[in-house]
Symmetry: C2
Subunit: 266 residues, 2 copies
DNA sequence: GAACCATGGGTAGCATGTCACCCACCGGCG
DNA sequence: CGCCGGTGGGTGACATGCTACCCATGGTTC
């Protein structure tokens, strides 16, 4: 609250490269949490929205000015994002957005396969009746969000369902881990980009999975989870390929190849 | 530098909890990296050495004074440890060491099983001859360190071997993840406490695993990794139980129970 | 004796000052 | 024309000042 009008800031339209101020990721209105967390959210959103792009150098001071907070929370939030692998620091030069390659996406989903297939199996085995009710409720919430076409709510419900299954598997560490994986790869952003046109289908993809979990059919649940993740993975790998301007006629072939190489054995 | 003799602080043998200043984690001599990293290392060491214990509240200012640096790098390092789950912050009150329960240890190893069994399989399948040479070299380094009885070197070589296998599996994301898991659970500290008397045996436990990887026998390598992790996990779970003052006659039983529950399905 | 409230010390979170260092730019030298 | 060393702006890392806030303590009231 010290600066009420931000006196200097970007100054006149300096055309010099490197100091370019392409787009200011405005501060989030998400009050309630610490400023550092707000910075993290804002930067993630700016990345997925395309306001900040790989290959360009940004600085703490720059973001702090744009978001009208001091450098401390900005630095703190950025360091956390850096540890998560979302950005990379160059000493005394600034930081840049790390580009998520199709291979990275495939690898993340290979890891998720390793963890969540087992989780589905364990959830089907261990879940108590009231816990199964929660699964059903979350599933219905997903369908509801999907029906309204609300992209963000659908993605959130999707996440919630996966998190719930991990929880029912009784492994808190795994929950935390997968949670972090999502953050790391700006997973949400990719999902958003991909499924914009097919929000309605997202819910139905979970039908078989939920059905088998509710029926406590361990192996079928595991298989359904594996198939679900494979489908999602390939869709996101394809999207990542398109982001890299891969010719459309090669996307299908490369997707199968990348996912096949990353997933074999998991 | 502010307090040269800590004028007030704990005062005479105050029995009051909370304000006690039990032991000062002295600054590391580990120069070369940033102060924040040095703080992280120092705090981890202080925890594993028992100088800092769960249930007690510490503060940034306190550590900063003890280590003779400013609050900034201390806060930064502690925040990172907090994100890893090693400590927990209480707003305006301080932070405390998070106790690692036997169940936590078992869960971490369940996750590692999910990731590293598949990694062993893939490493056996995919490794090039020169990469197998690296495995052999790392294995010999482990034996060498084990032979000299150097605990820290042995633990490091152990880590190196596991990391190498993950790398050869071609999943950079998994490597990063397991790396973080180690940090999280103050894994090294537990290992140290456990194997102090049996450093010599640690190397031999990897023999079958390495042998099968070198022979490129996928399924045997996977099985060997699973058994190796199960053994290690149970040893550490038992150690965690003893830390919690579990009666020795119940340790074996509880260990089997906890590990069985956590690992089933992975 | 017990419940209530003012108060003061201590804390994390945020803002700001300072510094060594790196790199891009630029002018002079070969 | 090409190389090369001085130089200045910008950056991350660290030090320090400031503030809202929480909690324990002790006095006060009933």
């Amino acid at each position: 609250m010290t600066t009420s009008s931000r006196p200097v800031a970007g100054s006149p339209a300096d055309g010099r490269p490197g100091a370019a101020t392409p787009a200011l990721p405005s501060v989030t209105a998400t009050t309630g949490s610490s400023l550092a967390v707000q910075v993290m959210t804002a930067v993630r959103r700016a990345i997925t929205a395309g306001e900040m792009e790989p290959g360009r150098l940004y600085s703490v001071q720059q973001l702090a000015s744009a978001m009208d907070v001091s450098r401390s929370p900005v630095r703190e939030g950025l360091l956390r994002l850096g540890e998560a692998g979302l950005i990379r620091f160059h000493r005394n030069r600034g930081f840049e957005i790390v580009e998520v390659s199709p291979t990275d996406v495939a690898e993340v989903f290979a890891v998720r396969t390793a963890l969540e297939v087992a989780a589905a199996r364990r959830a089907a085995r261990l879940a108590e009746p009231e816990e199964l009710d929660r699964v059903r409720a979350q599933w219905e919430a997903l369908h509801e969000a999907s029906r309204t076409g609300d992209l963000e709510a659908t993605a959130e419900a999707d996440e919630g369902l996966h998190r719930l299954l991990l929880l029912l598997a009784g492994n808190a560490q795994a929950v935390q881990l997968v949670e972090r994986l999502r953050t790391t790869t700006s997973f949400l952003g990719v999902v958003a980009a991909t499924s914009r046109r097919r929000v309605g289908e997202l819910a139905r993809e979970h039908d078989a999975l939920v059905e088998f979990v509710l029926a406590q059919d361990e192996e079928s649940a595991a298989r359904a989870m594996r198939e679900h993740l494979a489908e999602t993975a390939q869709r996101l790998v394809a999207e990542a390929l398109r982001t890299q301007r891969t010719p459309e006629e090669r996307v299908a072939e490369l997707t199968a190849q990348i996912w096949g190489a990353a997933a074999a054995g998991y």
